[in-house]
């Protein structure tokens, strides 16, 4: 196997923690144009995954896009792009959101934090960064200033022991409830910390200047509860938590209703709400909410030990093609395989039994609720 740090678009970018990853024995792979650690030599994906749920894992997510949107009316302006009520979002509160398109599909999923009535802090997926920035600029400028933060790093500290670490480094953050944030200093570095993440566990995300990221990451890793965790475990953790990965479980061809993300559409933006519609694709999406859709995203429990992965076809008892798997793999916390995918409406009820086609095998799968493991968000 050869190991080149390039992709077809040229050399890969590196995060501010690149040297640290290599030092820790990170197996570096290309991801969204960046060289990222998929796992670390000492542990491996399964151990990193289990450690995060048992204690605390530190993830470098600096490849993701961080932006500040500022100007009077920024909340109303942003409401044109996401089916969320940003006006009533509290200061230092966060909301999950979707960028929708005219056809009612999803351009990206993101987290919006209200820093002030005239300022939003936004985090978007690495793979969609450039296109999201262009989208925001096209719709918000010149009234609203769109400022990408290429010199800002992002760390995620997740797991039940994360709060023990934060209690030492920034005690104020232990008062935060899930989906809220605050500006704090960590070892003299100005950061913005939110109580959120992508694992289903309690945890924090720390936005900080790139020049201090290495120092702060090493400080966090100096706690014995903490291990460095790669993208491989990040994926198995979010899969167990039933969380979507854009580009896989969500894309421009899936609507929020089909993707079982109706919950993310604020009530005021729905039919009958006082700010009904007014976002890109609203007519399609609101109509789907009132009527029905033909496919739905569901979770699957897999029989046996063969992982059922993205791309696998799903058939019913008669061998008819009824759906496709969009995410799947081995779930270390369950010691079993799980998957997520889309099925025709009729196959969506819990308990529906189907088969996944994997190589020459028909693997029995059953529609089950997600998340596959219990959530541990801190609600106060």
């Amino acid at each position: 196997m050869s190991s080149e740090s390039t992709n077809s678009k040229g050399p890969l970018a590196q995060t501010p923690l690149h040297d640290l990853h290599v030092e820790l024995g990170g197996k570096m792979v290309p991801f969204a144009g960046y060289e990222m650690p998929v796992q670390y030599k000492a542990m491996g994906i399964i151990k990193e995954h289990l450690h995060t749920r048992a204690q605390a894992g530190l993830f470098d997510v600096s490849h993701m896009g961080q932006l500040i949107l500022s100007g009077d009316g920024v909340a109303q302006a942003m409401e044109k792009l996401v089916p969320v009520d940003i006006e009533t979002l509290g200061i230092d509160k966060q909301s999950y959101a979707l960028f929708t398109n005219e056809a009612g599909g999803i351009q990206d999923d993101l987290i919006i934090t209200k820093w002030a009535e005239n300022q939003l802090f936004v985090v978007v997926n690495a793979a969609c960064k450039e296109q999201d920035i262009a989208h925001l600029r096209a719709h918000l400028e010149p009234a609203i200033n769109v400022e990408p933060l290429p010199n800002q790093a992002l760390l995620a500290l997740q797991g039940p022991a994360a709060k023990e670490v934060m209690a030492v480094l920034a005690p104020a953050t232990t008062e935060l409830v899930f989906m809220s944030g605050c500006a704090v200093q960590i070892e003299g570095v100005r950061t913005y910390v939110t109580r959120s993440g992508y694992t289903g566990e309690d945890g924090f995300e720390i936005s900080l200047p790139a020049q201090h990221a290495d120092k702060i990451a090493r400080r966090i890793l100096s706690f014995e509860q903490v291990e460095a965790i790669g993208l491989g475990a990040r994926d198995s953790l979010r899969l167990e938590a039933g969380l979507c990965l854009y580009g896989h479980d969500l894309d421009t061809q899936t609507s929020p209703i089909e993707s079982a993300l109706s919950w993310s559409i604020s009530k005021s933006r729905r039919t009958g709400g006082d700010k009904e519609g007014g976002f890109i694709g609203a007519p399609v999406i609101l109509s789907q909410m009132m009527n029905s859709v033909t496919q739905k995203r569901v979770g699957f429990q897999v029989e046996g030990r063969v992982p059922v992965r993205e791309g696998a076809q799903l058939v019913d008892a008669d061998g008819n093609l009824v759906g496709r798997v969009t995410s799947g793999g081995f779930a270390p916390s369950l010691n079993a395989a799980v998957a997520m995918g889309y099925v025709a409406n009729e196959q969506a009820p819990l308990g529906t039994e189907l088969h996944a086609l994997v190589r020459d095998k028909r693997i029995p799968v059953q529609v089950v609720k997600m998340p596959f493991v219990p959530q541990h968000y801190f609600r106060g």
């Binding site: 196997m1 998929v38 491996g44 994906i45 491989g232 030990r305 992965r309 081995f330």
Partner: protein, 125 residues
């Protein structure tokens, strides 16, 4: 007197008269990552050289083993059913995959000895 050889696709082959044992090398297990399932051939199956004999599923990916020789499967490693991570822990020993009884003389011209395999790893991997 058994001899241990390696293929460029990172399998090891232990030849002991008519019996051949197959496994994957430490390099291969490291590339695969945590193994979660091994799909072994059934005992009695006749394999042709080059035919897909086993599939290894790791957390991240799947890899195949193509049989380096023709023969009949006479034993498979039952340990791997409950402990697939044995492949990661001890790929050269307890993590063996299957044993074949060969039915024709072996052509080992493409295989490497330990020194040759290590050189191959250094140069090309």
């Amino acid at each position: 007197m058994s001899t241990l050889k390696y293929t460029k696709s990172h399998e090891w082959i232990l030849v002991d008269g008519e019996m051949v044992t197959i496994g994957i090398t430490d390099y291969a297990q490291e590339q695969l990552g945590d193994v979660v399932f091994v799909d072994l051939p059934e005992e009695g199956r006749e394999l042709v050289e080059g035919e897909e004999a086993a599939v290894i599923e790791s957390v991240k990916a799947a890899g195949e083993i193509n049989s380096p020789v023709s023969g009949t499967v006479v034993a498979i490693n039952a340990v791997l059913a409950d402990a697939p991570d044995t492949v990661n822990q001890d790929p050269a020993g307890k993590g063996w995959f299957f044993k074949l009884k060969i039915d024709a003389p072996i052509d080992d011209s493409e295989w490497l000895d330990e020194e040759g395999y290590n050189a191959y790893l250094e140069d090309e991997c």
